[in-house]
């Protein structure tokens, strides 16, 4: 329990640091920002969040209803394939789009050939462009949650409503949709959260938002106070979103109907309706996954064909895998300690501690990076003094700019992923197992080793893979905190794309996509069939 509290506290520190940003008087940089950019930044950030929220709601809900309630050609494939964009980080799809629609890119070239030179294509490097890309990447959050809500009670409810004389359309809007509201709200807020946290896409598109400003102020102007203050604004937005989500979910609790929709088949669509349904799924999947990934493969093919494979690729893969692996191991260990502490002492206090340490997942990586640096620097100061006292000579900065700082930030951001997966695995083990073991004369530690760990092996592995993949895709915190010279796949992609070197960025980007497909396969595999249960 003590260990769990220590973990939670350490993880909550960055949050407090950012929250306390206003103790410092605003500096020159801040005043300059305030005068010139802040209003614009806020409008851009909020506008983007709103556009992505509406976009993902419409696309995700629409597609989910389509695949659950209707039958049309390709539905079975679309049902799982529509989740695929989740495997690709937004900044990867973003730069693939930019490359495709560039002046010299395939789309504009083809249009010019067909229609002549005077053609004007709307610029993708705009708020609408960013919102479009993010909608395409983040709609699966809404899609997944809406789909399971619809599956749970959608069709059965629809039948009930229609037996009471409602039309299909009326039943959907007045009954099915309101019943799915908690799921829809949860999905949309995940999508908006991601949009707020995104750094890679907005910076490649040159669209100015808070995350991008934090990076500029930090790395360009070296004003950490102003960066922290910007981060606190972003933190405020993220917290407001959390509050909004709770409020919108409402006090209503929807009990799961005993009558599963599983047995009920959707209505078969025919003729032009079927073609529209297939076309809509195809269009979204094509834009969000097939085209950008295809473009990446083309670029990669050019590189490989021309024997221009970047020489640093193996090293890049190695350092990324090792860093993410270290994060996965340490975060799963922390998550296990937390989850086990809550199991042993299921008090409200322990639950609170667990909640506290899961907060980081709602925070943008840029905010966490800013919040991590101050305590790390303080710790360095302490070590410095201790070393002077003990060794008689001062030490160099040990932690600042070390992989340790990056790992700390990862722990803050992704502990929730590890903890929740492990906790879910642990929760499936009945408490009577613990008691049985102890009544047989086995101590706590041995019980963990002999009963819990073997039973939750699958859950632990899943947690490790999820964290591994998430950290591998992470960009802003890594970028802000990394030691000099440390490069990950994500950073390489970002650096190359910020110089419009699209083709060169393709190989590391493909590596990220391949890795990202991993957890998707894992979750579909895990949800496909029940593992052999306790009884």
């Amino acid at each position: 329990m003590l260990a769990a509290s220590a973990i939670a506290l350490a993880v909550a520190v960055p949050l407090l640091v950012v929250g306390a940003a206003w103790r410092h008087p605003a500096g020159d940089v801040w005043r300059h920002l305030w005068d010139t950019q802040l209003a614009g930044l806020l409008v851009n950030t909020l506008g983007l969040a709103a556009a992505v929220g509406v976009g993902t709601l419409v696309v995700g809900t629409g597609l989910a209803w389509l695949v659950v309630a209707y039958r049309f050609p390709g539905r079975r494939v679309f049902e799982w394939a529509l989740v695929l964009p989740l495997a690709v980080p937004a900044y990867v799809i973003g730069f693939a789009f930019l490359g495709m629609f560039d002046f010299s890119g395939p789309v504009q070239s083809a249009l010019r050939r067909a229609l002549g030179d005077g053609l004007r294509v709307p610029d993708l490097r705009s708020g609408w462009g960013v919102a479009l890309v993010m909608t395409l990447v983040f709609y699966p959050y809404v899609y997944l949650l809406a789909r399971s809500a619809f599956r749970e009670h959608g069709l059965a409810t629809l039948e009930t409503a229609r037996s009471l004389g409602h039309s299909r359309r009326r039943a959907f809007f007045e009954i099915v949709l309101p019943m799915a509201r908690p799921s829809l709200v949860a999905g949309v807020s995940l999508a908006v959260m991601e949009a707020l946290a995104d750094f890679g896409t907005v910076s490649t598109f040159g669209y100015r938002t808070l995350t991008e400003a934090i990076y500029r102020v930090w790395n360009g102007m070296f004003d950490r106070v102003a960066a922290t203050q910007l981060a606190s604004l972003l933190l405020l937005l993220a917290l407001a979103l959390l509050v909004l989500e709770r409020a919108l979910r409402g006090r209503r609790r929807f009990t799961q109907s005993q009558r599963r929709g599983g047995g009920v088949e959707g209505a078969r669509l025919r003729g032009w309706r079927a073609r529209v349904a297939t076309g809509a799924c195809l269009a979204v999947l094509g834009l969000a996954f097939v085209l950008p990934v295809g473009q990446l493969l083309l670029w990669a093919g050019e590189l490989v064909g021309g024997a221009r494979v970047p020489r640093n690729l193996p090293g890049l893969l190695g350092s990324t895998f090792v860093l993410a692996g270290a994060a996965a191991l340490s975060i799963c260990a922390l998550g296990l300690i937390l989850a086990y502490a809550v199991r042993l002492h299921p008090s409200p206090g322990a639950r609170f501690v667990a909640q506290l340490s899961s907060m980081g997942y709602a925070l943008p990586g840029a905010v966490i990076a800013v919040g991590v640096l101050a305590p790390i620097a303080w710790l360095d100061g302490v070590l410095h003094d201790v070393a002077k006292l003990v060794l008689g000579r001062p030490l160099d900065l040990l932690l600042t700019g070390s992989a340790g700082a990056v790992l700390f930030a990862y722990a803050v951001r992704f502990l929730a992923v590890g903890y929740q997966t492990i906790d879910a695995g642990l929760a499936r083990i009945p408490p009577s197992f613990d008691e049985a073991a102890r009544s047989l004369g086995v101590r706590l530690g041995s019980t963990l080793r002999r009963v819990h760990l073997p039973l939750m092996r699958g859950g632990l592995l899943t947690a490790a893979i999820m964290v591994w993949v998430e950290t591998m895709k992470e960009l802003p915190a890594t970028l802000l905190l990394r030691p000099l010279g440390l490069k990950t796949l994500a950073i390489e992609v970002w650096e190359l794309t910020s110089e419009s070197r699209w083709a060169e960025a393709a190989l590391p980007a493909i590596a990220i996509v391949l890795v990202g497909l991993f957890p998707l396969m894992l979750t579909t595999h895990l949800t496909a069939g029940p593992p052999h249960g306790p009884r």
Partner: protein, 347 residues
Amino acid sequence: MSLVSLTDVGKRYRRRQAPAVSGLSFSVGHGEILALLGPSGCGKTTTLRLIAGFETPDEGTITIGDRVVADATRDVLVPPEARGVGVVFQDYALFPHLTVEENVAFGLHRLARPARQGRVREVLRLVDLEALLRRYPHELSGGQQQRVALARALAPSPALLLLDEPFSNLDADLRNQMREEVEHVLRSTGTTAIFVTHDQEEAFTIADRVGVLAAGRLEQIAAPEVVYHQPATTFVAGFVGAADFLPGEVTAAGIVTEVGVFPNAEWPLGQKVDVMIRPDDVTFVVCADGAATILKRSFRGSETLYGLALPSGRLLFSSQPSAAEFTAGQRVRVDVHALHVVTFSAS
């Protein structure tokens, strides 16, 4: 010399809430089987968990053998793994990742391998499961799982065995069979056992003594026959079998009620009392000028239960062999022959 004893044990899960158990005192002798009987929420499972060490008492002491395992005043608390108490759980709690053999060997980690294997075989022979050594729990039937759970709990030779609603997961046929088997195993190994149940029949058939709990308090602890025929409280009277209570007044002739006069042993003259009458004590004969009327009849198989309306409007139940048949509406004369007259002061 008793093996387990509880003295004034109390446990409260949440402040400002009624205690789960309070003022609990009883002891169990070597080789004795005690049943804790009561409705759900009466504190019987809490009592078991306190003895096993899964819960900490707020008051009182618990002694197992000659060792105090929990003393609320002196902060003594022996952890469950050091109490030498075996537990059979309601859901059996068999470890799904271990075979029958490994499950039974789980608590034998202090034995060397050959000794362990020998002991595993020995207890599996006891419950007649030697053939299923290599099976996994999910490959066993409910009754087999129950026997593995029993074997696992018995393997380390615990001084005391606790069983929490051990038969509630079995269907009726199997339940009777398992009751006999479990009792046989406990008796043949001389194991001291406490088991929790809400089924009075189960308690009566297996236990040497039955403790009846209500709202966290021990109402009575005695041999099954005593609990049934001489219940200490109206709650016990009603819980361990059907009972009606008729008001009566103590006179020089005895306790006068509307169905007759009962002998009085303890009450002063003029005292108002309730007389407990069980359906098997009540007989009746059809009689045109009888004071009572048959109100309803419910067929129970081996017996038929008749509800009789007395002149006062009170209902009295009578159980009759199925062979005799009466119909509702018939007037009858009621006769009560109670072996033990049980009376409670009327409140």
